[in-house]
Symmetry: C2
Subunit: 320 residues, 2 copies
Amino acid sequence: MICNTEKYIALSGGVGGAKLALGLSHVLDTEQLLLVANTGDDFQHLGLSVSPDIDTLVYTLSGLNNKKLGWGRQDESWNFMQACEELEMDTWFRLGDKDLALHLFRTQALSQGLTLSEVTNELCKRFNIKTQIVPMSDDPIKTFVNTSMGTLPFQEYFVKYQCLPEVTGIEYKGIDNAKMAPSFDQYLNDPALQAIIICPSNPFLSVQPILSIPAVKNKLKKIMKPVIIVSPIVEGEALKGPTAKMMKELNIDCDVNGVVELYADIADGIVIDNKDSVYVEKIESRGIKVHTSNIVMQSLQHRIDLAKDVVEFSKMLCKR
Amino acid sequence: MICNTEKYIALSGGVGGAKLALGLSHVLDTEQLLLVANTGDDFQHLGLSVSPDIDTLVYTLSGLNNKKLGWGRQDESWNFMQACEELEMDTWFRLGDKDLALHLFRTQALSQGLTLSEVTNELCKRFNIKTQIVPMSDDPIKTFVNTSMGTLPFQEYFVKYQCLPEVTGIEYKGIDNAKMAPSFDQYLNDPALQAIIICPSNPFLSVQPILSIPAVKNKLKKIMKPVIIVSPIVEGEALKGPTAKMMKELNIDCDVNGVVELYADIADGIVIDNKDSVYVEKIESRGIKVHTSNIVMQSLQHRIDLAKDVVEFSKMLCKR
C-alpha cells in the first residue's frame, strides 16, 4: 500500500481497463481512488438496464469475475438463457443466471428514480467493494458505430456482429447534453487530485465516450494535473478486443505512436510496454513523457506491479 | 375426445384449478375451450410483472410444471435466487432461473404496450399450447386480504406470511373499473357456449376476483347457460391451500354446503366428491343439481375423467 493522500482518477472501459483498475485498488487507499466507468455501452436488453463496463468493474473488484470466459460472473449457469432460447427470445447477448440478479437490481432501482451513480454505489456496497466506482455520467449516452453495414448500436457491433463490420466512424448520442456524474466532477476538482489515469481500454469505444462529455473535455484541457495513458497497444497488437482493427480501419497508425496521436491534446505521460521502447524517443520529442514497463497483465501480481509503476510515474510528471 | 362444437369457459386460479383445466384440454377440442385465469394475484416483483395463475396454467398445459414443488417450472435451478440472497434482495417470492424467461418476456412485452391478453396468447404460442388461456381482464386488479395483521397485498399474505394471519375480509382493488378481457367477453356471448365451469380453486382468492368484475357479475346473473361449480372442498378439507381455513375464519360452513352458499346466486350444478354424497339432498332441495364423482385428481387420468364427468353433467343441466 502506498501511503499518501493524493487522489487518482482512473478512466476505464471493460475487461482490459478493469485489470489495471484492480491493480490500482490494491496499491491505493479506498479514499484515494475513483474508478470512472464508460457507460456508452449501456443498453436495454430484454427490458433490463445493462451497464457492461460498470458490471465488469464490479465483478472484477469483488473477485467474482469469470476468469475462464473473460466476462460475466464466475461459477455461472445458463438455464435462463436456455429457457429464452426455447421461447425464441433474443439470446445474442448472454445473461447468466447469477448475473441476472445485478441487472434486475439495477433496473428496478433506476425505475424507482435512483441515479446510475446511486445504484452503482449501492451495488458496490452489496458486493463488498470498498473502492468507489462511478459511471462517467448519470445521463444516457449511447455509442453507435458507423460501419460498412450501416450505423449499429454498440452492442450489436460488438456482440451480435463480433466487431466484424469495417468501422468508418463513431458517435456518442446524447453526449452534448450529458453532465459528469457528481463524484467524477467532485474528484476532478479536488485539490488533492494527483493524476488522471487512462486505463488500457479501447480508445474509441471505452475512453473517448468519457472524454467527449463536454465538461470533461473542457476540464482536461486546462487541468493542472497530469494525464497518463496506459497503452492498449503492444507491438502493434491490441491487448484485447478490436482496438487494433479499428485503428487500421480509421487510418490511424496501429502502434503506440497512434495511441499518442489519439490522446495528443491531453496526454502528459504514457506507459508503454518494454517491447515498444523503440518509440520512446519519438514520443518524448513531442513533449510527452514515457515510462516503459510490462503492461501485459497476466496475473494479479502483474496488475499490482503495473499500478505501482503508473502511480510512481505520475509523481514524476508535471503538467505541460 | 368429445366431438361437438359446444363451447366451454373454465374459470381457474392456480394449481388446483389448473388440474381440471388440463383435464378439460384433453377432452375438448381447442376451439371448444377458453381458460380464464384469475389475475388478482398479479404483482410486480423485483421489477417483473408476475402473473402466478396464468403462469401455472401455462406450465401445466405445456407439461412443464414442477410436479415435485407443486408450483413453477420443472427441472428448475435457483442460482439467480442465490445471487439475490447474496445481494440482500427480496427472496421471499421464489423465481427459478428458467421461470425468469417467462417473466422477462411478459414484463418487456407489457412495457412495449401489449395487453396482458396479447402477451398471454404469445406465450401460449411459444410454449406450444393449443388451448386458449386468457386473463380475466387486461386491467389491473389487485387482491388485498384484510387480516389480523392489517391489510396485506395477496402475495404477502399467501407467500410471505404463508396464509397464517386470520382473514377478516377480501378486497379486489381496481375491480370497479375493470373490463373483461376481450376473448372472455366474446366467449360469454357466443351462442355456442354450453356451460361455465368453475374449477376447484380458492373461492375467495381465485374465483371471486373473476366473478366480481362488474360485467361478469351482470352477465352471469342473466345468462341462459348453466354454471357448474367443481367443489374445492372434500369432507370439510380443502383440496389445496387455505380455502378451508379462510371459510372458517369468515364464518362460512366449511363443507360443500358452504361452497354452495358462496356460489348460490349463480350455480346451476355442483360436482362434489363421492365422499360428500350425504349433502346431495340438501343441495338439490335448493334447486341446484349435484353430480358426485372422484374429485381428488391425483393423476392425469383422474383429471381427464373428472373433466369428462363435468362436461357430461353440463349437458344434463338447464338454466334455472
